[in-house]
Amino acid sequence: MFAFILQRLAQAAVVMITVAFISFMLFQYVGDPVVFLLGQDATQEQIKELRQALGLDQAFIVQFWHFLSNAAQGEFGFSLRQGTQVSTLIAERFPATLELALVAGVLALSLGIPMGVYAALKRGSFTSQVFMTLSLLGVSLPTFLIGILLILIFAVTLGWFPSFGRGEVVQMGWWTSGLLTAKGWHHIALPAVTLAIFQLTLIMRLVRAEMLEVLRTDYIKFARARGLTTRAVHFGHALKNTLVPVMTITGLQLGGLIAFAIITETVFQWPGMGLLFIQAVTFADIPVMAAYLCLIALIFVVINLIVDLLYFAVDPRLRVGKSGGH
């Protein structure tokens, strides 16, 4: 178990260094931040000087090494656009994205799993067909289109929800929360729905497929043969076994939520990391981009680790145990 975690962490480190390297390498080509900093009217000398000052003239590998050694200390340098420590920027934005992803994730899970279970248990019924068709619509509609349509309908035409922003936030130490005020919930509704729809349909389809698979197994048949109640069979036995494989994918999906938030945050001007990233891309703000990507990788790694640990909790086969047979 301990070895397992250690192994995972080592793996995570490798993944993150790779991610950092790739992203850093790619950014070399994304654009030149100096143009922004100095504006259109700068002279070549000024440009050169600033490049030097920022260390942009150093060899790529030197720049990368600097970046890496700083990153190891949680320091990603300064945003070229805002001149603030990247770690501060990210820390400011992180709560917004996390809350959005959480609300969307909870929404997707709390609707997706029951719908998937229903569609599996009532395979072929009208409602489950409706669910399946709707879910296809969910994966066929591009996120940006969903967002814009929601704004058009619920914000502009009906005026029920605000179209952008996070509303009132409550400051709690370094964390800001929009979930403590009614306004905050009001604001999070549309973006969270937009973000959740895609994941919801994926989770629903996944749960349904896995559930159908599990319902066909011998132990379910045997559970029925033992005369257990339908409830016990479906929810005690089938659902739990369904959730084991669903967990991995769901874990990845939740990581995906944070990444997908880029589009949602852009459409709804949600002041999260995705927006920060998109703006960083527009301004070729390399430190911010690199930090963001590393953070995303970290989140993925952490989620994967949690999922693996959950496996240990849920699946006794993985626990090291006194084994009677072989």
Binding site: D218, Y219, A225, A232, N241, D315, R317, G321, G324
Partner: protein, 323 residues
């Protein structure tokens, strides 16, 4: 009165090329405490018969006609909820693969207690005691400790014991055991069969033992039914069926089995293969392969008729003398 009566049972699978009759007019009875063996080639319909009795036919399979009576009461037309109460309480089941029959995520104790509480008016502690007792009865050493272990921590033979314990948990009157030892090693097989036999004798439960191993049948059963292509070919006391088979198929089957006591260059064989469900020949399903086939075999379907100590579905024994 017999415990279980199956009368003219028909099981069908609707398919795109018409409805397939997987079981065709299957009839037999099981007396209380009796062990009935069901043998036959793979695909003969043994498992379907078992599934129909415990009401777990997988859709789209369905009982087309016929009746299943438990202690004289029909159970084939019960609602799912009513049938559920009967399963486990009145009829227990054991399936082929002990590894996959147990939910890997729950300890065997949990699965046992769950079953006991569902059917018997016991509280959790009583149920646990009973579960431990069941495990002991099925020969699991250190049952108090092993009850909290998970299925993967047991060996194949022990798992099958747990499955038997689960099937017996609510003292059912009938146990449908569908190939309980096929997945097990030869040496374990004997242990399990012996256990099943003794424990059922002790509790007076009847058993329907499905297998295609004649040897197992021979040593275990009181009576045996031989199935072929969804029909019962012969049914009767085990000694008679094995030593004096009345149906040519049974005879052929017996001859196929390599015998320990004699040396032969070649085994007897029945040429050809069992027909597919969508191509069951007219008349007796066995007639194209039958060495003793006569004209009527290809035209009229034989029903079970008395043939010595057994009953066989074969025109050769037609007392009415249609030959």
């Amino acid at each position: 009165m017999s415990l279980l009566q199956v009368k003219n049972l028909v099981v069908e699978f609707p398919s795109r090329k018409g409805t397939l009759r997987a079981l065709d007019n299957v009839s037999f009875e099981i007396a209380p405490g009796e062990i009935l063996g069901v043998v036959g080639e793979s695909g003969a319909g043994k498992s379907l018969t078992g599934a129909a009795i415990i009401g777990l036919l997988e859709p789209p399979g369905r009982v087309g006609s016929g009746e299943i009576l438990l202690e004289g009461a029909r159970i084939d037309n019960l609602s799912p909820a009513q049938m559920r109460v009967i399963r486990g309480r009145e009829i227990g089941a054991i399936f082929q693969d002990p590894l996959t029959s147990l939910n890997p995520l729950y300890s065997v104790g949990r699965q046992l207690i769950e079953t006991i509480i569902t059917h018997l008016p016991l509280n959790a502690t009583q149920a646990r005691e009973r579960a431990i007792q069941l495990l002991k009865d099925t020969g699991i050493p250190a049952a108090e400790e092993r009850i909290d272990h998970y299925p993967h921590q047991f060996s194949g033979g022990m798992r099958q014991r747990v499955v038997i314990a689960l099937a017996l948990a609510a003292e059912p009157k009938l146990i449908v055991a569908d190939e309980p030892t096929t997945a097990l090693d030869v040496s374990i097989q004997a242990q399990i069969i012996t256990l099943l036999k003794t424990i059922c004798k002790e509790r007076g439960a009847a058993v329907m033992l499905i297998t295609h191993d004649m040897g197992v049948i021979a040593e275990t059963c009181d009576r045996v039914a031989v199935m072929y292509a969804g029909r019962v070919a012969e049914i009767g006391p085990v000694y008679d069926v094995i030593n004096r088979p009345s149906h040519p198929y049974t005879a052929g089957l017996m001859a196929c089995i390599p015998d320990m006591s004699e040396d032969r260059e070649n085994l007897n064989q029945i040429d050809g293969a069992m027909p597919r469900l969508n191509a069951i020949p007219q008349g007796c399903a066995f007639n194209p392969r039958c060495p003793k086939a006569i004209a009527v075999c290809g035209q009229k379907r034989p029903e079970l008729m008395v043939a010595g100590n057994t009953q066989a579905a074969c025109w050769l024994h037609d007392a009415g003398g249609s030959i």
